[in-house]
Symmetry: D3
Subunit: 250 residues, 6 copies
């Protein structure tokens, strides 16, 4: 089985980190193809950057020539899942949703700890649209941007643990989800500190993708996620205009 | 006052039609600047096309040199509002939300009649995220695509009236919203047929934009819709790469 | 265009203040007719007073001989909107709802700061029935009664700012609505203090009324808000019994 | 124990019918005092009439000189409960809410069958504000007005049974509530026809009032339902102006 | 009228205390038959113990030979109500639900104060499934187990008052429900301390059972709570296997 | 990895069928241990039978001597998950919830087709408590009991397809979940008939269990699902009383 893991941003180091996490999480025999888009921000902290990422990710996925069995979108709260579900036939997993699915399987309620307060809304929206908000005790921000988290993982861990402690004590969260792709790899240490299970989204996405593929299931094409009717679209795919630069692969 | 009305698709005739509706709806003294993006689909019926539109619309709006007082996004259920709210300071109105706001002011409940069943989900999602779904009795599809509606407005009217009648009789809708920019201009005739108020989104958006501007209010920049932190974004704006073609104006 | 603004209480100074706010908010060319009922409390802080106001306001509006294009009910959380929607044909706007509509147009979430804790429930109920509670982060009381606010606007401003700050910091409100007609005129100063947009309900109501009238729309009469069947009603209108005193006009 | 049952309308025959139902439902030893207001409509089918009733009922209750232990408001969907809860200290039960309470005790879900479609909204609103809408499968209208029901109980029964059958079959209601005070007395016959329990609101209100009184409990006065602060209220109580006519008693 | 009150646990002293509370709450003429199951925990603080109790309670009730008119299940948040509703024909009241019903009749919102935080979820779930969560301001834990409450009622009272004060002040609860059968008898003292009505579940259950019986109503058997189809069930009733020990009676 | 799959009923043929489905769904290398309880009904169609099953399943699982990595509870809508989560440390998956999780990963909305209308409530409740009801378009009954489905799978398939077609056409379900363990094995044929993905709960549960185990995660023991405090429980485990008959294994 081959899983295509897509970093929503253009940072090669993030793509490598995501790939490592995905590999560590994957079952024996699962191959991971980790790619990043050719354009967009190298860290996503706004809706504007998120929408651009949604398009760049669709663009990037369309350019992948080799076959794959599922896609994992490695953005926590980024837009784009419905678009990708339309244009590919294999299952598409989003890591915010995957985290919530897994969290609900192992606890009564969960909290997400993300980066900046301004990103809380996007995560709440994604969970809500996915029908996974009901058992969400809170989405909390640790106050560090995506880049801050990348730059200083030790400081990030302290900030995340501090906020997650409040989630457990005050919001009665029983599971904590790390609400940022860049937090990958911190889950075990944070879980040890807090005494509650900590879910890493990329790992969750990879394992759930394996599960859905293993079940022989694919995205329903009966209505909302049917392939778009073929039509000429000006300037699309944008990567063609960019001289065929479709983005790199980790 | 000048209102920038943005057609989410690349059809010049749709842009012209939207401009006419906007002009008809505007107060005396309000100028309408109607633009369309440089890339994307000429009719939007999928999430993939909607995401591309969200980016193309942000791109297009950023390229407008002259000052304006508000933006009206003329896509019914298209993505992008939060992104635009971040990158401009003036108020940004979305026509799906504007329709719902106005409908709630004049009736206990409303229904939306849109094009294809596959678009229902996108509209439901937008209304839900906007906190306007509670008084929505139903979102119904008349079975015609955006292009079908453009091509044959008479047939569209029959299909819309048929579906809207069910909404009024069975879902107890007291107001009907036309769920597609291309339905602009049909509101009065449909209202006459059904005996209930019919809201046209572009008209609603223009008048609500005037109201917000008149109140001296702008988008809150305190958190979610704050300007994105300045950062270099690869390939952005895309219109630059496209040789500076920023899209036309009606 | 002429807008009938109805003070729900019997205080002439409040009626004058509401009229001033309405005039300041109105577009050029919009006339404001501000009236108050002939009976009821001169400040409304309870459901008992609110119900009496609902009746006195309907009574007062029925006695207005000159034509008008819309009604703005200037009570924040007071009863009566549905009744008035039945007995007049022009659009009826309520300032609590108008505030929420406008707040949702310019921010992800809003809080209301009202007078006493005992009034919080009435405001929550009105927003909920109007389908506008979903994006309401909180309704908070500053601890001063309507009369206190009238008597000492400076103290009121401090109390409102204090409570609104909590709403912004703890409830993550991005817009603040002033939850009492008597707070009119404080919006700009409070906004300057808090750094978030502040919505005054009377101003919002007037501008939204203009918008709905400008759209050529009226209350749907197809079901809930149809005119009551003509029937003899004992003692109605009450103002007749009161010797024809229909209440004053500012 | 003495229970004050208040007919919201001015029809003496309705007051008598309500009194009979209340007496039949009451425990041995419970006295029923049935009153009607001095002004308002003799059948309530609109919000305008409902608001007037809310005031007239408060007025009427204030004029009752003899002591009583609880109040039952015999209007199904009429306004006023919160007002009355403020101005008396004894428990106040509303028959729409009482019906829903009892229905939830004996079935998984319930439907209400009321008179006209235009009254459905008021009942839905009352149940929703009371926190009792979650197990409400539907509120359905049989198409007859309150007066029609009074005039022709046999036809009413057929219409109610027809609509209730749909509620049971299609909405999966397991209990039916009669959504109009005037339907009192039809419950047993309808239950026999439908094979599901049928709840009469007046009976439910009386028995629940007995229960609350028996528990030694009264309305919480800690916040929302505290007595209004004493203040002079112009023209109140209205019955004084009407020459002291406080309405009759059955 | 005879009401069967079932202690969900196997503690004879709890059964006696419940019986005393029930007797104090009952109307003159109502007989109380208080029983306890033959197996299970003598204090229930987990879902495992709760499920066992649900079965043991059904078993115990089936073994009651003498006729009774209603059942009151005296566990606060314990499972089993739907099962009992199926296998007996008389009304079945649960004390968590009964508390909430009564609390909603006398206040705008209520809080529950229970024993341990781990029991909060079970109570929230039961209120939610019963459609009674909407007006629940909070379910709070005082930190003492069911056994702790039994052992030291004075300490329990202090802990409950402390938590209930927070519920009133911070969650704006207007009524407090004692969320544990073992708290019976503390209601009046706590009410005196807090100044808000305090509802004891056993008392509420008994009085509501009287009301439903008095109304001549029984559980709807039309669908969900119909008698199970007769089938052979291995090992059931378990009490037979236990040598016919059906549990004692207070 | 070894997964313990528990049939909630006492039918050996159902246990065998569940085992076959589980084996077919499992990854290479995953062992399936399928067990059934020693007591209870051989087909569960009521809450009474469901509660008994919850206890019998806990009892059965406690008696399993060999180690296992996760539990899959193979009852669709049966009680017991929280109890089992308390008493074992490994992850516990429920097939109703697992179906909903998987369905949400591959479609916008899903419907469940179950056996009898009387079981619909139990499934709705379980999905609701699990926080998975939001994307549930409907739970529909095909009108056949669990035993009927076992006896005549061909007739069951027709009945399920008929009801599922309505779910797809009228409720706009995009995925169908088979709401009964006994429907295992029909998924592919039904999917072929309907053109939408069909999810079998046992298969989903097994694959999700593998995913959670693969992630190294276990049930959160921080609060709700902590081990019950050790206490003596009369008559527990019931299987001891039954002479040590702990139920068979397929």
């Amino acid at each position: 089985m081959k899983i295509l893991v897509v970093n929503p941003n253009t940072s090669a180091s993030t793509t490598r980190a995501i790939k490592e996490t995905a590999l560590r999480a994957a079952s024996p025999g699962t191959e991971i193809l980790a790619v990043q888009p050719a354009y967009g921000a190298d860290a996503i902290d706004s809706a504007m950057e998120s929408y651009l990422s949604a398009v760049a990710v669709m663009d990037r996925v369309l350019s992948v020539a080799e076959p794959y069995d599922a896609v994992v979108m490695a953005g926590f709260g980024e837009h784009g899942r419905e678009g990708l579900q339309e244009i590919v036939d294999v299952p598409v997993l989003d890591i915010a949703e995957s985290s919530a699915h897994v969290a609900q399987m192992i606890g009564r309620s969960y909290s997400v700890v993300t980066t900046l307060q301004r990103s809380v809304g996007a995560i709440e929206d994604r969970l809500r649209l996915a029908g996974l908000a009901d058992r969400c005790a809170s989405v909390r921000a640790c106050g560090l941007s995506t880049s801050d988290v990348d730059r200083d993982p030790a400081a990030a861990m302290e900030a995340i643990v501090a906020e997650a402690s409040i989630a457990v004590r005050s919001d009665h969260a029983e599971v904590v989800c790390l609400g940022c792709g860049g937090m990958a790899g911190l889950d075990e240490a944070i879980s040890a500190r807090l005494g509650v299970p900590v879910v890493d989204g990329v790992a969750a996405g990879v394992r759930l993708a394996e599960a859905v593929v293993g079940l022989g299931l694919r995205t329903s094409k009966v209505c909302t996620y049917a392939r778009p009717e073929p039509k000429e679209i000006t300037g699309w795919p944008i990567s063609w205009i960019l001289g065929g630069d479709v983005g790199t692969e980790a």
